[in-house]
Symmetry: C2
Subunit: 200 residues, 2 copies
Amino acid sequence: MKGATRPDRRHRRHEATRREILDAAWSIAREEGLTALSMRHLARAVGMEAQSLYTYFPSKHAIYDAMFADGNAHLLGLQSSLELDADPVVALHQAAHQFVEFCTSDPTRYQLLFQRTVPGFEPSSESYALARKVLDFASERLAAAGVADQTALDLYTALVSGLLNQQMSNEPGGDRWIRHLDRALDMYLRETTTDRHEPT
Amino acid sequence: MKGATRPDRRHRRHEATRREILDAAWSIAREEGLTALSMRHLARAVGMEAQSLYTYFPSKHAIYDAMFADGNAHLLGLQSSLELDADPVVALHQAAHQFVEFCTSDPTRYQLLFQRTVPGFEPSSESYALARKVLDFASERLAAAGVADQTALDLYTALVSGLLNQQMSNEPGGDRWIRHLDRALDMYLRETTTDRHEPT
DNA sequence: GTCTATATTTGGATAGAC
DNA sequence: GTCTATCCAAATATAGAC
C-alpha cells in the first residue's frame, strides 16, 4: 500500500503555500508599507503562527528577495509581450510608457524594486539577474532608436527615473511629473541622436 | 547672594548640549545608517543615559526633524554665499554644481533631506519651510536663465534629482551619472528656452 | 508541517529619586 | 539635569513536542 504522499505532490503543495504567503506579503506591504511587514503579521494573514513561516522561507530577507524576484519577473513578462511599433522611436515611447505605468500602478513594488529603502535588504544574485534583464531590455530599445553609447544610456535612466522619483515621492497617484515623459524623451533623443533627415 | 544660575546662561548651556547631541546623531547616522540611530546608541555617544536625552528632545522624531532643519539651513547658507556669474546660464550651472556637490559629499544627509527613507518621519512645517526656500532658490536661478513656467521647473528637478539618485543608489562616491550634469543642463535649456539670437 | 514555549535583542518612553 | 529602575511593545529566530 502507498501510504506516503508522492514527493512531487508534496512539492506542489509546498509551492502553492509559498505562493500564498508571498501574495499575503504583497498585500500587507501595499496596505501598511514595506517596513511594516513582519513575520507575526504575515503569519496572521495566512492563518499560521509566525514560526511556521520558516518552513517556507529561511528568513524575512528571503521573503523580500522572493518579492523582488516576483516583481521583476512580472515586469519582464509585460515587456516581452508588448507589441512594439515598427518605428523604433515610437517603440521607445511605448516601452517607456509601459515602464512608467508598471511603476506608478504599485508604489510599494516600485519602492522594493527600484529604490533601496528596506533597511538591510539586498537582492540575491539570482534575483538581481532578473533586474539586469529588465535594464537590458531598455538598452535594446534605445539602440534600436539610434542611441548606442553607455553614457547616453545612463542619461536615459536618470531622466526616466528622475521623473518617476519626483512623482512617487511628492505626488503619488498624480501625473505632475510623468506627464512630461514624452516631452522628456523627445528632448533626450534630440540630444543623443544625429538626425540624418533635414540636412539643410 | 545670587545662588541660582542666570536664565540666559542656563539657556545657552542647554543649546550647547543640544548641538552636541545633534552632532553625535549625524556622526552615528553617517557611520551606521539613518535607521540605525537609536536613543540608547546616541546617548552612549554623548556619555549620557538614553532617558536624559528627553530633556533636550521630546522624541526620536524630534531629533530627525532637527537634523532635517540643520541640513537645509546649511544648504541655504551655502547657496546664499555663492558668488554667481553675471551670465544667468553660467550661474545656473554653478548653482547646480554646488547643489550636486552638497548632496554627494554626504549621502546620509542626502537621504534624510531628499529621499523619504526614514520609516515614520515627516518634517515639521517649520523645518519644511526651509526646504521650500531651497527650492525657491532654484526657481529664481531658472527664471533668470529664461525658464519661467512651472512645468519646466518640474522637469528641471526631475533631471537633476534623477542624475543624483542614480549616482547615490548605484555608485556612491563615483561620477558615472553626475558627470553628465553640464550636458544635461544644456540639453534642458535648449528645450525650455527660446533662443532669441540666431534667428536665421 | 504546525504548533507551544521560549530565547534573545532591541527599541521608545515614563516615574521618581537625587 | 541626570540618574536608576522599569514598563511596554515588538521583532527575529530556535527547540522540541505532536
